[in-house]
Symmetry: D2
Subunit: 415 residues, 4 copies
């Protein structure tokens, strides 16, 4: 099954914005294969505007000449992705990633390139033209590249089929579709058509929807048509955003399950914003990064690293290779918070094997606090517990930790 | 601990409205002791206006002469509760209930009787008078009896202390406090003061808040200050209300835990509305009653029977004495829905002992449907499953049931 | 016709709150007769809680012993209104006011006294009792005295008829009914019943509704059933409240006309808050008072003086006796703003006699400004204009004034 | 001054949609000059998509090849407007209209043509290019032609200046700017820049804003920057739309004045929808047309005929040439409703010359009704009144009419 567990990987946005290059992707893939793959990390995802020859940072150049084939299908800009030359698209890069034992993903915007509509390009494998599929009044509010499609028309379905067939040919394993997961009136239908194209393309491709926040009332629709969807707007290395995730996680946790995962967005750790500042680094403190990793694992969010991997320092690498912590994503189910105040939060997640559970506490305050997991919430005693950041053992007493501001503790508890 | 598990019992409202009498209470208690106690049922709760001599049905007589002592504390109307004569209040009736091995509860409105304020009665054990504690502009929107209190004043705290001390003397085990759990601006503070009086009265008393719907944003406040709180307006034997509970249960399920239980309200089964029609009976079909019992148990809602117990027929008695089903309330934790559409719903609840889990499916449609529990949501195989309404065994295949409209199936699954 | 022009008078609230006495009323009436009557001032209105023996300021004592007759009709407290002794009510005081050539008004709360309901007093001239008319869940949000009525019942109509007949006997000319003109769900019906009682009582009584803001969508209902109604919450001597009136006046001006007048509330001028501070005085500057008087006159608001008249200084007396300004209330019609920005406002009002119009400009800014009435809005030239605060003449050029902060100018213009 | 009185004219939309041709315009202009000019009608306005060669009805073809010059300025499609050949634009057509003693207007969309941005065309008279001025994420919700501009940039101002200079050269007297007057967040600034370009172009051009409803809170902004603005969405020949105009007129009437006129939209009378059906005709009854003309005149709305003039029948021509009725637009001021219920409405408008006023009554019900103008609202007697649809004289009694459903009466009253 697709996305049986929450996908884990790397995405180019946080470090390279719209300006990622093949060279960078290869170096991150190589790093992942060497250092992270043993811990379950496997996806390498090229984010937005890989078809744009002039992108230099996180901004989107308007009215640019996006690279496309004669059927209005976007192609990687060859000046940025040399292996795409000769019309080979992302095929060679995907091959390379696969050769490392990893999986390859790309970002797309819903719709088709504006100029493909204005030029009335034919849609591959159909008698339609792009102007017949495109909706001239449906655009993205923040990106200048595309027109959304008239999804009730066969022409629209033909276009989406044509691109997913191309992605399948290239060997794409993961598509992050953007401008579609917020509360847009049109998006329910467009998600359905994209999902159908993805499911029918002949290759297993994870379908991820952005940006957030997705509307909670759409939970069942999202679970049916996508594998993951963002529950927030873009997440960055700022404490208020991390603090705010506890409320979102509480609302969405009941919707996490095999094949459908509420997504708390990328992990802004290590070397960030490299396109703007070669020395860019996460502003999260070490405790905040532990809190983030703990919450993401407890809620079983997908994990997509945002930092430039080759620059990882020891701390970052250890953060990302805490095997017992990452195991929560696969071993647990039915997680939920048992308490959430302005100062503290506590989460509980039973283990599927029945041998115990995971319990986490978070210090949301700006002071050091001694925080105990609410004893009554255990509903029973336990024989042994191991705190997963420190390795400290506990043989049956209280689950309690002295935590610096914004830090977390999480125990693997044996019945 | 108070309310370690969701309280289970009987309440007089659905069958007798404001007009319940001692005789009725005793007969229901006797029935419970004989037929229901072995299955965990234990609370006998006298609902609203027991202090009102003239109540005859579900309506509230305005400007009535509520019975009270010289300190503005309401007393049972002796014409309805003869054992209360001589100022003994509910003591004798509580004694009787206790003698059966059961527990005794009463309903109260927040505030103090209007006439206690107008008469400026002294507050027991304090130098204050009732007019000092009462807020002349804080009344209930639907009941004419009380003034709310100025909860920041010591006089208000003194009054609430005085009534809970009286209830403790009587031997009350459960207080259902009304006009307080909806989205009222004043209620947060009034809940805190009532909770403190309850906790400090010297007796373990379960504190239940009504009416609903309680605001979801207040979840942590409610968990801190109350043992149960209504998540809906009054629930009656109408399918749309039962159907609507699935959405509420989804939102509230993460907040259920020892000591604090979101309350889906009474179970309108068997003989209802006896005060209006001696032949009154639930309008729920047998499938709907199974659906209700299954959902309430899976979400670990408190269970309060609304029907006149001595009139129970075989079906109703069996419905209420399905031991393996009722065990879910104590054995499971971390329940949540895994799918909810207009036609179907499925819930999952791990067992705390780790040996398996519970899985339920609901047919919300008006047609018979074959409904399978989503296989991928199991995340593993299982050795054996027993359907708890039919007793049918299943040795590891699919969890599936052919269900009439509005019916449910629920399996106890062994790993 | 009742209220052919906007009523002008004095009201006791701003200077004496709930604690006004007969002596004060008489002295204000005598002052009005001597100094203000020639300018059109005529109503003397006794505001809230004249039935309350213990009132001392603007606060309302809860659970007090309101004075009432055997039919639940409130009577003046004799310790405050000695002439009311012997059951004569406000008759003697009304006679005195009439003897001065003035008119007499009183304030009432909608509903009947709470204790009249609890005591089940008979309703005069009917077979009903007060508990039958009162609605136990309809109270005022800020005053503790009354229960609203069940206005669809004959008992409610009987009660309102009984009090207006009493007021007619007393010689009341003006009733300010409170707790009824804001956006309350119940009020539409209660206004209709009160209005009918007022119209049928055998005496011409102006009906004024409070508090505001009345909902604009109810304009036609208010015009049908009342003579004036408040367009704001209580207005006091604070610039932001006065500044805010320009927006309200713009919305309501089209609804002003004979018999029905949007009411901008009392004029807090001169000696205010006497019950709290014998030296209390308006905080409005002289310019602000001119702005207030000019706007109230241009929009044809009722004019009710709030200050203790005998303490008027020269400025205040001149402010209230600017005959040419006050004439706007009677001479003009169809007034409306022609410009309103954050800094300036301009109003235009044609004269009914066709011989010209009134034009006003207001400096809403905190700086001195030269403000011209928008020339194009005149749509023609004019022969002569007189500024009504300074008396300056203008023979046909621009209507322009240099105004200190918060000041106003207003011209009577001859075609 | 521009638009001293509400503009009166003809607009091509209601009869020809996006497909109007030069021939049609000329024939309507000739008709107007011959039959309507004496009554004040003077504007001939070419509505939307005159630059679109393939338009055939009210729909907008997406991704079409709009005709434009080398500076991204739209030009009339020569296949539809032959006199525009040779780059002469609307100059020859404007000359023709002027030769008839009439004025010439055109419709524009805010922004610049999408392809002008994609082609990076230079902006006339500046060093900028169209892609610098255009905002790629600001488009119309219902028309596919344009990108809105980044109005804080000099490039945007340069573009708007360049088109208004062209319009001035052509001899345009009236510009109806569309996609700008509803509650859009961006529009305040874009209105200001367009207004400045219009005011600075060297020719007096009326600036009209569409579509509606314009937000009432923006009234002062609209009065400052435009000459007219729509107070409704598109108005068509359906009674509910006409009935709804009474509420809008009540809210907006205080904002009508020389230079700035709230616009109730076109008059759908006579031959409509000619592009879809050569026999198309208004669905309004004769009474409804009288009600529309009466309300539009009383509120001083601009008057733009929507029907194909040469096809006017006698009724329609008489409707549009009721001189005494049309005189209200110029003779009156300060109009407002004096009563508005579900069944009836009455309006009053003083005459500027002071010799009298206009009074109108409307039957909004579906039954014949005898409707009197509220006598007290006159505030005086009168000597003589003439009903302007029937010519009936009245020498001082009541203003009353027996009206069929949806009909109106309006009197010119002499003091």
């Amino acid at each position: 099954m697709i996305a049986q567990y929450p996908p884990m990987g790397w995405n180019s946005w946080d470090c390279y914005g719209a300006a990622v290059t093949e060279d960078t992707v290869r170096r991150n893939a190589a790093y992942m294969a060497k250092y992270l793959k043993p811990y379950g990390w496997e996806y390498i995802v090229v984010d937005i505007q890989w078809y744009q020859p002039t992108a230099v940072n996180h901004a989107y150049a308007p009215f640019s000449d996006a690279v496309m084939d004669g059927f209005g299908r976007l192609l990687p800009a060859e000046n940025r992705f040399p292996s795409a030359s000769g019309g080979r698209g992302f095929g060679p890069l995907a091959d390379y990633v696969h050769s490392l034992g990893l999986k390859f993903g790309i970002h797309i915007m819903r719709g088709l390139p504006r100029m493909a509509a204005h030029r009335r390009l034919p849609i591959f494998g159909s008698g339609f033209t792009c102007d017949q599929a495109a909706h001239p009044n449906s655009i993205c509010a923040w990106n200048p590249d595309m027109y959304g499609l008239k999804c009730d028309l066969p022409a629209a379905r033909a276009y989406y089929d044509s691109i997913f067939q191309l992605y399948a040919q290239w060997g794409v394993d993961y598509v992050k579709c953007d401008d579609i997961a917020r509360e847009y009136p049109h998006c329910q239908r467009e998600i359905e058509v994209i999902s159908a194209a993805c499911r029918n393309c002949g290759r297993e491709i994870v379908l991820s929807l952005s940006p957030g926040p997705a509307p909670l009332e759409q939970a069942e629709h999202l679970k049916t048509y996508a594998n993951l969807w963002r529950i927030t707007d873009d997440f960055w290395d700022e404490w208020p955003l991390l603090e705010g995730m506890f409320e979102r996680a509480e609302k969405w946790c009941v919707h996490a399950g095999p094949g459908h995962w509420p997504d708390a967005d990328m992990l802004p750790v290590g070397a960030l914003r490299q396109c703007d500042d070669p020395n860019g680094w996460t502003c999260f403190t070490a405790p905040e990064q532990r809190t983030m990793m703990t919450l993401w694992c407890m809620m079983r969010s997908p994990l997509m690293i945002g930092g430039n991997l080759p620059k990882n320092d020891d701390f970052t690498l250890r953060l990302l290779t805490n095997g017992p912590l990452l195991a929560i994503e696969k071993d647990s189910w039915c997680a939920h918070p048992v308490r959430r105040t302005a100062e503290e939060c506590a989460w509980l997640a039973p283990r599927k094997d029945g041998a115990g559970f995971y319990a986490a506490v978070f210090n949301l305050s700006d002071q050091e606090r001694r925080i105990a997991f609410p004893r009554e919430a255990l509903e029973s005693g336990f024989s042994r517990a191991t705190e997963l950041w420190t390795g400290k053992e506990n043989d049956g007493g209280e689950l309690v930790a002295c935590l610096p501001p914004h830090d977390a503790a999480v125990w693997r508890v044996e019945r």
